[in-house]
Amino acid sequence: MKDYPPADELLEAVAAFLDEEVKPLLKGGKRFKSIVAANACRVVAREAAGKTALVEEQRRGLGELLGELLGKDGQPTAAVPGDDSSADELGRELCAAIAEGAYDQGRSREQLLAWLRSDVEARLRINDPAFLERNERRDK
């Protein structure tokens, strides 16, 4: 059970207050700061709405990626999909494998880059959707 209104609606109201009522009163550095603050509210609002799905997708994708990684004996070396590690734990496991050279070349590197691209795009939808829009325009 949650309380009403949800975090994203409450934060959007704060952002609108900063934009429409605070910003016009300010000049220079403080005015810029009010724009940054309103933007930060919108980032957190999108995060509040999308965080659960993001982390679940990270857990699934990381499990799959690490599960594909084969050791010298040809056996999977790491987590397999369905285990109960958190996304952060799997992320740290991935970082350790990168540092050991498991993703230096070949198919594993391609798979890693493809996963990183989809994950960073999911995080950009929260943090900087305008960046993704610019990329789309650039690719056209």
């Binding site: 990183l116 960073v120 950009l124 650039r138």
Partner: protein
């Protein structure tokens, strides 16, 4: 903490009088006008003021003072030494007059230099019609400034440790190591596989440097002063060091310095190939497209680390700062660019 501007003004006047005593007649009559805050980065505060001489003349000056508790940039003394060195090499810089220590009245190290008219705002440069001629002139001017800087015979005093040994890759490896160490101070609660992959690639692909040069270390749109005609000064020398000349060229290509004008690659102003051509024409060394790409990848990675350090520093003050904290959320865009650049590397 907010600086007491009136106290600082009086202390600065005392300091300049001491510096001028015995050198200029009427040093006792020198007056420092009101300090006006011009800008402030994560590591320093910048104020403008008028220096009124005893003979009635007035000169516009700039005070650059450390922020208490700054960490990853060079000391103000190193920046001062490098600035003098760059001026001698013919680089367009404001003349640095005096260097002050923490004991000289302001409580932090600082330096005083000439005020240079112009703007340093990347957004204005890239979007405002008033700067169309500036945008035309800048590529050749930027290449020329770097060629002159890199031709400087580095003097006896250079910031930071020069990497020891005779491995020709040691300058790139030392740069990667330095920023890996900086990144290691960050929260491990936030794994960043894209940044770790970049660090690994940079370590494995470090290029050789036969002749290291004095590198600016933060040469980019945003640190260049300009007016309606072109470049008026190269600013912010606090990250300069001995290294690969291609490091400055690659940093100039980092996407964040295009301020949303994503094409062409060099600050939204010219292509990478054109930059290398202009640099060569201005007397710079031959730099290959591979070398340039290495340092562009390095630059994006280093920028991501700097953003995270700045975000972490948001909590250092008496109250958390939203502007610094929000910088952390710019990192995903830099990660995207890194993944894209690394992906292109693989397909070669």
């Amino acid at each position: 903490m907010e600086r007491d501007l009136e106290k600082s003004q009086a202390a600065l006047q005392e300091f300049i009088r001491r510096q001028q005593a015995g050198q200029a007649a009427g040093a006792d009559a020198l007056r420092v006008g009101e300090l006006t805050r011009l800008s402030g980065g994560a590591s320093c505060e910048v104020y403008g003021f008028d220096l009124h001489a005893g003979d009635g003349t007035t000169r516009a000056m700039v005070l650059r003072a450390d922020r208490p508790g700054k960490d990853f940039s060079a000391s103000r003394a190193d920046e001062y030494a490098v600035l003098r060195e760059a001026e001698q090499a013919g680089v367009t810089v404001p003349h640095a007059h005096w260097l002050g220590s923490a004991d000289d009245g302001l409580g932090v190290p600082f330096m005083v230099m000439d005020f240079v008219p112009g703007l340093a705002l990347g957004q204005r440069l890239l979007r405002d019609d008033a700067y169309a001629s500036t945008r035309e002139a800048l590529p050749a001017q930027l290449a020329g400034e770097l060629a002159r800087l890199h031709a400087a015979a580095p003097g006896h005093r250079l910031p930071g440790a020069t990497p020891a040994g005779d491995d020709p890759r040691r300058f790139a490896l030392a740069a990667v190591k330095q920023w890996t160490a900086a990144a290691a101070t960050l929260h491990t609660d936030y794994p960043r596989p894209a940044l770790d992959l970049a660090a690994r690639w940079l370590k494995l692909n470090a290029p050789s440097v036969q002749e290291p040069v004095l590198v600016h270390g933060d040469f980019r749109i945003g640190n260049i002063m300009f007016d309606e005609r072109g470049l008026t000064a190269v600013l912010d020398w606090e990250l300069s060091h001995l290294g690969d000349p291609a490091e400055d060229l690659g940093w100039l290509c980092v996407r964040s310095w295009r301020f949303g004008r994503d094409h062409p690659a060099v600050g939204g102003l010219c292509t990478r190939d054109r930059l290398l051509e202009l640099y060569r024409e201005a007397g710079g060394r031959a730099v290959s497209a591979d070398q340039l790409r290495y340092w562009e990848i390095f630059g994006n990675w280093k920028w991501a680390v700097i953003c995270l350090l700045q975000a972490a520093s948001a909590r250092a003050g008496s109250r958390p700062d939203v502007e610094l904290a929000a910088i952390g959320r710019r990192v995903p865009a830099v990660e995207w660019e890194l993944v894209d650049l690394l992906d292109r590397e693989q397909s070669q």
